[in-house]
Point group: C2
């Protein structure tokens, strides 16, 4: 079992979906990622919150087994995101974003953190992602997430960090945008040429597609009769993915396939409720059972 | 190996996609279906064409092994469809439809045809589908396709025929429309309550999902770097599906899973070129190789 470190955001989210509303609840990419990954391995979280950040949320993460020694608490307000979804739950509409203390976030890894073998650079400014990467000491595997905002606004910095990571996790429209290519398969292949040896395209309710040198792997989304809130699905996908690889301490192709399925498993639980609520009650045997369901969902005989 | 019969349309299509154009080429649901299914078993085609229908097209179907004894040639013009696709190849825009001789089509099965064990009712007026079903003598498996036009305009007739078929093949928006339910899984389950014991939801570039009593099965679309024309993909999917089941003479759950994969295999070839062009050069070993690729696309170890 190897350690895992994530650098990203910890936020207070206010989310409205057709099925309900949650105000100022625990959110953020590093939060979802670390809590999901903590089901698999020891996770170290590097992020920043303001003095207003509720103590119970810290306890929630600690109780989940997340190492908070890298969490800075600084003067000011915690990052806030306000978003809403229509019946097409694949796309969030951002109503308001207040970076607050996150605007001046400069991640700094402690001596112990620099040696962590599995590193996830969640969706933050690619210049910060690069700074973190410079501090890490030859990690075994580095994965990165990004979004349209950085693809448009910080393309050069993003290309620079991409050249040095092993895995890119990205959604489908951003795959096309980054590669400037409408065909998803061509786009993913074009991104492989930029550096990563593996691209995992997250397609929301349509599952995820991995494109790697000479090979494809597809996992469907779990068939759900009820999705309350898709917020955090992508980050928990990444958490299950990296958490599994870190637990196994492996990065071979067969392990990567299983890791992608564990990503889909964790995402399928997250969307069953608002915030991290479903994950808070999740048991290890539920994860194993749903993993087996995924096997049943796609198996057929030659 | 059991025989298979399809009732549907034979047409002359004019199609424009961002990648080219084809004018007055061989098309129609029964055409795509029967040609695809002919790779697996003996197929009998029941349809109508006008006197203008080009003889070489008849030879194409005959050479493919399609039994044309049920094809009526009547006075008048053959059914014509004119359609176009934008870069979102999932949805065709119909520019013009001329039913011509198809407007008065009344399918009549010969004595031999009535005994066929595998029956596919392609996308035609549900009242005609019901008439065909009444003529069939206890088939082993009946599958049906339909579309928004009939769901809106002939709902009662459609519900009547649905109550008597085994498998419904339908696209995702039509699944929601027929069940009047936005959640796809709930919608498919609701349709199971209307009669079919299996619903296969075709999702274009996102693959296909089977919902059956207590079980799900998912097959992705084959990752394609180039799709020239999606016309006929759904019908060749159905052709691969029914063709395989008829060849095996089986309808058990494991065979149905394999049949769905063969459906996806055949559809993946069809979209590589306009009209039936790609199918015309297709070899049996290419089908087997692509089937194996599908296995590799989704496999992972427990």
């Amino acid at each position: 079992m190897a350690d895992l470190l994530v650098v990203g955001s910890v936020a207070l989210d206010s989310v409205t979906t057709p099925f309900g509303q949650a105000i100022e609840v625990l959110g953020g990419s590093a939060t979802y990622f670390s809590y999901a990954a903590s089901f698999f391995t020891e996770v170290k979280l590097v992020a920043v919150v303001g003095e207003d950040f509720p103590k119970p949320h810290l306890m929630t993460l600690k109780d989940g087994g997340v190492d908070l020694s890298g969490l800075q608490v600084t003067r000011g307000q915690t990052f806030r995101w306000v978003g809403e979804y229509g019946f097409d739950l694949n796309e969030a509409r951002t109503v308001d974003t207040r970076l607050n203390v996150f605007a001046d976030f400069r991640p700094s890894l402690s001596a112990a953190h620099r040696k962590v073998p599995f590193l996830f650079l969640a969706n933050i400014d690619p210049e910060l992602q690069l700074e973190v990467l410079r501090q890490a000491e030859r990690p075994q595997l580095v994965a990165l997430d990004t979004m349209n905002f950085w693809i448009e606004g910080k393309r050069q910095a993003l290309l620079k960090v991409l050249a040095e990571v092993d895995v890119l996790l990205i959604n489908d429209s951003e795959t096309r945008q980054l590669a400037r290519e409408p065909n998803l398969i061509k786009a993913a292949r074009a991104i492989l040429a930029l550096g990563p040896r593996t691209v995992v395209v997250k397609r929301g309710e349509y599952g995820a597609l991995m494109v790697s040198d000479g090979s494809f792997f597809f996992v469907p989304a779990y068939p759900m009769e009820s999705v309350l809130d898709p917020t955090g699905a992508g980050d928990t996908f990444a958490g299950g993915f990296m958490g599994y690889l870190a637990r196994e301490g492996r990065t071979d192709p067969e392990s990567v396939r299983r890791a992608i399925v564990f990503g889909a498993v964790m995402a399928s639980f997250t969307v069953e409720d608002f915030s991290l609520n479903r994950l808070l009650t999740l048991k290890a045997d539920e994860i194993e059972r749903r993993y087996a369901s995924f096997q049943d969902l796609v198996r057929f005989e030659i």
